[in-house]
């Protein structure tokens, strides 16, 4: 009977971007959506999967997603990591032709063209693309019936953590460490700066790019440099380079605070939970799960889904906010959140636009 | 008593049988010479005794005991010392460091340099070999380097001293000094094995002489029972005449000249001071001098490796502004180098490639930058035969030829290049009598063809025999200009040591 079960299982393929498994950021987040939630399995030593216990399953769902109906879907995951850009297309090809997957997920905007091209080549396969819409040969966005794209409003969650940082800083100096100047990271930066400006107009913002997503040593000296210059709250959107930020914060301890990105880094004991004031959340896991669910339910539709504060697709983590901000300040943050949801505030997407952006005065 | 004996030593290299059943016996307290052509197997035999090579078969006895010498460490323990044909020195180390290396005075793990310097000082006084213990070896002349080599083995208390061509780079005076030392060592009961191509020296210093040829011992003779001529014949298998027939050629126009040349060497010291001379077509100008008195600076300035701080160099009448070997050669210079392995040849290249190097971009060897192999092969075959290179196979790598044949490849190349001026820097260094004879013949040929030759040599007899005019270098200056017919070796010797000056002779 066991064999029969595997045969009837829907196969879900996933291609990571070059960051790969274990990036503690959106690749991992997408994998949680697929492996932990949809398939309810755990990746184990020696490769392969073993079943996940119910308690682990429940524990894996963050508080703000408890009401999103996450439950196991009886699917079989096939994950291919990419070592370089050039692997994307062969990986997708492998998943479609050899593994015969029903849905192929491309994690990251870097797969935009690869998914775009493959979706045309394999019209009978369904695709999901995270962080971007599919692109045609000349890089323009195309609408394909078999591709479902998920975008996130990083500027909105960036804005809220920026607002928190504006309150949290005692030196009136805050920092920001970016990986590379690419759209999602720039959206974070724009939101963050706008947020800081809103709650603390006097605050000086130090911004730095390491030009690498994978060198924590650089993240560490970048952070150290900002601390040296007086910053006491620092946000990163730099992948593993940002791990170096938490390292630096942890070594210095109080009064310095770090702000995590993409996932709730305040829950990650391997980083610096004690000094993580909040995290800008981007629920790639939820998007992945939803897409898989639509395939399982037969409701899959092509098109673009933009996840924002409104639908809980982005947000900020409570972590230590209560310990740092006053109740009044917290309610102001919540107010700002509401104002974004109801459209009173439009957060800029481009860091260059922040200088001329009119900060809300009443909230 | 027998100090050293080798019995039935066989040593094969991939291409040659270097030692073919060699047996020799050397008495304690004698100076035993080994002579033989280049590649006869002398060095190989000595390296076997010193543990650097492992023989394919054969036995070694030291002071009567059969010994298994696996490495130099074993040899040193058996009180065997060796001065190698190619100096085994570390140029960047000081004299002291070179001498004590491997047996250093120490305090714990720390190298006790002060004591080492003292020890070396004592040692040099004891054996009368003057050196400055704290000088870097790269700053020493070859003669002094030789002393360092000898002190090295004396310090280890060697009883059997092997000297492989120790005089190849020495001046007559230095050679005399060395011989005094060797005789003194002999009086002290040390055994000395002496290898040389200079049969005169062998006849002067040795008690017995072994002649090797093609890996075999041709015979061992007592000095009183033999002569230079006979030794040469045993070695080469025919009579050798080293005397150069004096040919007189009409002097033509100036083919090469330098004026007021002043050159700093790589150490930043002025090595050549205000030197001026001309070379006319049809003459050989000899430069005599003790090594380290400006020869290297002169050669390197002519090649453009050292930029003169003053003075001019002319090819013919043309002043050379940008001096590079390429520019000099295109204006008609050929060059025989003293260092064939490092300068003269591209060792991993085949003989054919070495022969055409420098002309490789000329017709017929290449056409619009593309090599013409057929033309090259035809030319090379002809040249290898003409210059008697053995084996006359252009497809063998240069590194696989013996020293003498390597030199012939260089000659074949340099002579076949279109040139009016030949710069010959120690062209017979390390060559056996046969090869030396050949080089002399070529130089005289050059003169007959109305080329101008600048011959730099440390070998006074060579300079005296070949030159039409002799310039003596001392301390970077030309301290004398003489005609060989109007001078003596003694006179030149005095000038070489800076004890006498002689004005330029006006023609």
């Amino acid at each position: 009977t066991k064999k029969q079960v595997t045969v009837t299982k829907i196969k879900i393929g996933l291609v990571t971007d070059v960051g790969g498994r274990g990036d503690r950021s959106f690749n991992d987040s997408a994998l949680r959506g697929l492996e932990t939630w949809a398939a309810k399995v755990k990746y184990v030593q020696g490769g392969g999967y073993e079943a996940l216990s119910d308690s682990d399953f429940t524990a894996s769902i963050p508080d703000d997603l408890k009401d999103k109906g996450i439950a196991a879907l009886n699917v079989e995951p096939v994950v291919l990591e990419s070592k370089v850009q050039e692997d994307y297309i062969p990986n997708i090809q492998n998943l479609v032709e050899q593994q015969k997957c029903d849905l192929v997920i491309g994690v990251g905007f870097m797969l935009a063209s690869a998914i775009g091209e493959s979706a045309v080549k394999y019209p009978d396969t369904k695709f999901m693309l995270i962080d971007s819409t599919p692109a045609d040969a000349s890089g323009n966005s195309v609408d394909l019936a078999n591709v479902s794209s998920y975008l996130f409003k990083e500027n909105e969650c960036g804005y809220l953590v920026g607002a928190i940082a504006g309150y949290a800083t005692e030196t009136n100096k805050v920092g920001y460490v970016g990986g590379m100047e690419i759209p999602p990271v720039l959206r974070y930066e724009a939101g963050y700066k706008a947020g800081v400006k809103t709650t603390n107009s006097k605050a000086q913002i130090f911004g730095q790019y390491a030009n690498k997503f994978d060198d924590p040593a650089l993240g560490k000296i970048a952070t150290d440099a900002q601390i040296t210059l007086g910053a006491d709250v620092i946000f990163h959107a730099a992948g593993a380079t940002g791990n170096g930020m938490f390292q630096a914060i942890c070594e210095k301890g109080a009064p310095y605070w770090g702000i995590g990105v993409d996932v709730d880094m305040g829950l990650d004991p391997k980083l610096c939970p004690d000094r993580t004031v909040t995290s800008a959340l981007k629920h790639v896991d939820l998007a992945t799960f939803d897409a898989i669910k639509s395939v399982v339910d037969g409701t899959f539709k092509g098109g673009v889904t933009t996840l924002s504060l409104k639908d809980g697709g982005v947000g900020y983590a409570p972590d230590h906010v209560k310990d740092v901000l006053s109740a009044d300040q917290i309610s102001k943050i919540e107010n700002l959140k509401k104002m974004i949801i109801d459209g009173t505030i439009t957060v800029p997407e481009d860091p260059k636009a922040v200088d001329t952006w009119a900060t809300p005065t009443t909230f | 008593m027998e100090a050293l004996a080798v019995k039935n030593i066989v040593k094969k290299f991939p291409n040659v049988l270097a030692n073919d059943n060699v047996s020799l016996s050397i008495e304690k307290g004698e100076i035993f010479a080994i002579v033989g052509e280049n590649g006869a197997g002398k060095s190989t035999l000595m390296k076997i005794v010193y543990g650097l090579y492992t023989p394919n078969s054969g036995e070694i006895f030291v002071f009567g005991n059969k010994e298994d010498i696996k490495n130099s460490h074993d040899a040193i323990k058996l009180k065997i010392g060796m001065v190698h044909q190619e100096f085994m020195l570390i140029p960047r180390f000081t004299v002291t460091e070179n001498i004590v290396l491997g047996d250093e005075p120490k305090k714990g793990v720390v190298f006790d340099y002060k004591r080492a310097v003292l020890e070396v000082k004592e040692l040099s006084e004891k054996f009368g070999l003057k050196i400055n213990p704290t000088e870097k070896v790269e700053n020493l002349s070859v003669g002094i380097q030789q002393r360092v080599e000898i002190l090295k083995i004396l310090r280890r208390g060697a009883e059997i001293l092997i000297l492989d061509e120790p005089t190849a780079v020495l001046t007559p005076q230095e050679t005399e000094e060395l011989f005094k030392t060797l005789n003194a060592l002999k009086q002290n009961g040390k055994t000395i094995i002496f290898i040389s191509h200079k049969l005169g020296e062998v006849m002067e210093i040795a008690d017995r002489v072994a002649v090797m040829r093609r890996g075999k011992v041709q015979g061992v003779v007592n000095k009183p029972d033999t002569s230079e001529k006979e030794l040469a014949k045993m070695m080469v298998g025919r009579d050798v005449v080293l005397e150069v027939p004096q040919v007189k050629v009409e002097k033509g126009k100036v083919v090469f000249s330098v004026s007021g040349l002043t050159v700093k060497n790589t150490r930043g010291i002025i090595g050549l001071k205000n030197v001026s001379f001309e070379v006319y077509s049809g003459e050989i100008v000899g430069i005599a001098g003790v090594e380290g008195n400006g020869q290297a600076e002169l050669v390197n300035a002519i090649l453009g490796f050292l930029k003169p701080i003053n003075g001019k160099i002319y090819m013919g009448m043309e002043e050379m502004k940008f001096i590079t070997p390429y520019n000099m050669r295109t204006r008609g210079m050929s060059y025989i180098t003293e260092d064939r392995k490092r300068r003269g040849l591209v060792l991993p290249f085949k003989a054919r490639e070495n022969v055409i190097m420098g002309q490789h971009s000329l017709y017929p060897f290449s056409n619009k930058g593309i090599l013409n192999n057929q033309a090259i092969d035809e030319f090379v075959t002809k040249k290898l035969e003409e210059f008697d290179v053995r084996p006359p196979n252009g497809y063998i790598k240069a590194e696989s030829f013996s020293g003498g044949n390597q030199q012939k490849i260089i000659l074949a190349r340099e002579m076949s290049m279109k040139h009016s001026f030949l710069l010959a820097s120690q062209p017979t260094r390390g060559l056996d009598v046969g090869a030396t004879e050949f080089v002399y013949k070529i130089l005289v040929e050059e003169k007959k063809k109305s080329k101008g030759v600048l011959l730099i040599s440390l070998e006074l007899s060579e300079i005296m025999g070949l030159s039409d005019r002799i310039l003596v270098l001392y301390g970077g200056e030309i301290v004398g200009e003489v005609m060989p017919s109007e001078t003596t070796e003694e006179e030149i010797g005095l000038m070489m040591l800076g004890l006498k000056r002689k004005e330029r002779v006006e023609q």
Partner: protein
């Protein structure tokens, strides 16, 4: 603590991995064996250090594991290049390439990820730091008031290695082998033994460099480690003319440029803030080339560096 002291301390922290590896290069290459495997060795040790620390919960055990793998990889390099007189560059490239593959494999095998290891106890935590509070406010000296033992070790090793190379018998022999192995051999020195030693010792130093990253300054291994720092170290070694102090100054130059770059980037105002980050980030590399052109010029290594030593016949 003032900005200068903090920046200096950061500079020392950032320089340490490079300095260790450069010192490793110095000793290996003084023994006549070219070591372009520094990057690979750092990667091996960075991982094994973390693994050891993770298994034992002690950074000290991690240190031992890292040194252990350094010895093994060094022995591998020596086996190829010394025992079999193999091409040293080829061997070094082999180690670098294997390191990329095998460490990712291990990462997946042991920590079930291909990105980052879990965090482990490390030498940067307060208990493992050497704190000298009373100097903390003195300019420059204050930079030394709260460094990790790795940083101190890297500084001590500069002196130590200098002593070893230029004051001890072993050092004399190492250098002699790098300059002219045949001469050393004729003096009864066991060239092979010396080369084995210097190659392995160099690998151990490079291993310390790898660990200075993973358990010295950070507390985990990431798959991209050491992100090219081994090659920077190689450059620092050449820049420093194959001497311990030279390597130190070169590493410091590079690390200072890196710290300066971040400070400039963070504080850029007006026109300067319009300068693209790429220019700031490439500053250290431009400075290095500039220094080579301006001050240092031609560097000459040990005479027999890279020449395989075979005992013939």
């Amino acid at each position: 603590m003032n900005i200068l002291n903090q920046s200096l301390a950061q500079m020392l922290d950032f320089a340490a991995p490079i300095l260790f590896a450069a010192l490793g290069g110095v000793i290996t290459e003084n023994g006549g064996v070219v070591n372009i495997a520094l990057d690979g060795i750092m990667r091996f040790a960075a991982f094994f250090g973390v693994w050891g620390a993770s298994v034992s919960k002690s950074p000290w055990v991690g240190l031992l594991w890292g040194i252990g793998i350094g010895i093994l990889v060094g022995a591998f390099h020596a086996y190829i290049t010394v025992k079999w007189a193999g091409n040293q560059i080829v061997s070094g490239v082999a180690i670098n390439v294997v390191a990329v593959g095998i460490i990712t494999y291990f990462l997946e095998l042991i920590f079930k990820t291909t990105g980052y290891s879990p965090t482990v106890p490390y030498f940067g935590s307060a208990v493992n730091r050497i704190s000298i509070p009373f100097i903390s406010n003195i300019p420059i000296l204050g930079a030394f008031s709260n460094l990790t033992i790795f940083v101190w070790l890297s500084l001590f090793l500069v002196f130590g290695l200098n002593f070893l190379l230029y004051r001890t018998v072993l050092g004399l022999r190492i250098r002699s082998v790098g300059e002219n192995p045949i001469a050393a051999e004729t003096l009864g020195i066991n060239v092979f033994k010396v080369k084995w030693f210097s190659t392995i010792a160099g690998a151990v130093l490079a291993a310390l460099g790898g660990m200075a990253l993973s358990i010295g300054s950070l507390s985990s291994f990431t798959n991209s480690m050491p992100a090219g720092k081994g090659f920077i170290a190689l450059a620092a070694m050449i820049f420093g003319r194959w001497t311990p102090f030279g390597a130190m100054w070169a590493s410091f130059l590079f690390a200072s440029a890196q710290v300066l770059q971040f400070i400039l980037q963070a504080t850029a105002k007006g026109i300067a803030s319009k300068i693209p980050v790429g220019f700031y980030l490439s500053l250290p590399y431009f400075l290095t080339i500039g220094a080579l052109i301006g001050v240092v010029g031609k560097a000459v290594g040990p005479a027999a560096d890279g020449v395989p030593y075979k005992k013939e016949g």
